[in-house]
Symmetry: C2
Subunit: 84 residues, 2 copies
């Protein structure tokens, strides 16, 4: 695998998995006062668009990464709305 493809995969992995610790912290603490509702609203919508983009272009990495990120972002968004 060429180094640049590896760089892209590492970037996708980091930006996708990074939302997991935030989802865990939000579930555990329900401390959402410092979290921006407009960020997670817009980010979740954008991630949904990326998922559709991945599906329409049959791009498996984009589809998989954004499918996972969408789950984490939705969890954080729902907790923010519920425990604002």
């Amino acid at each position: 695998m060429n180094p640049i493809t590896l760089l892209g995969l590492a970037a996708a992995f980091c930006t996708t998995v990074s939302f997991l610790p935030q989802a865990i912290k939000t579930i555990r603490t329900r401390d959402t006062s410092g979290i921006s509702l407009s960020m997670y609203g817009l980010f979740t919508f954008g991630t949904l668009l990326w998922l559709l983009f991945g599906l329409f272009t049959s791009n498996i990495p984009v589809t998989a990464a954004n499918g996972v990120t969408l789950i984490f972002a939705l969890i954080i968004l729902v907790y923010k709305i519920k425990y604002h």
Copy 2:
């Protein structure tokens, strides 16, 4: 411009700009207790990798989007470290 390219641009715009309201809220309130340090550490690193990926592949949208996101993510990360 074909609809799928438009979808990709809209997705990139939303996921990039979404970090602006979080950066503003964090600067204004310094309320970072609910924000995950490991998320922003990993996300900032991943965004840096995407920026390098965009530069190496001469992909202007990827470079521009991640350059902007990196600035917002760094602001949030620095505030989280400073006011944890």
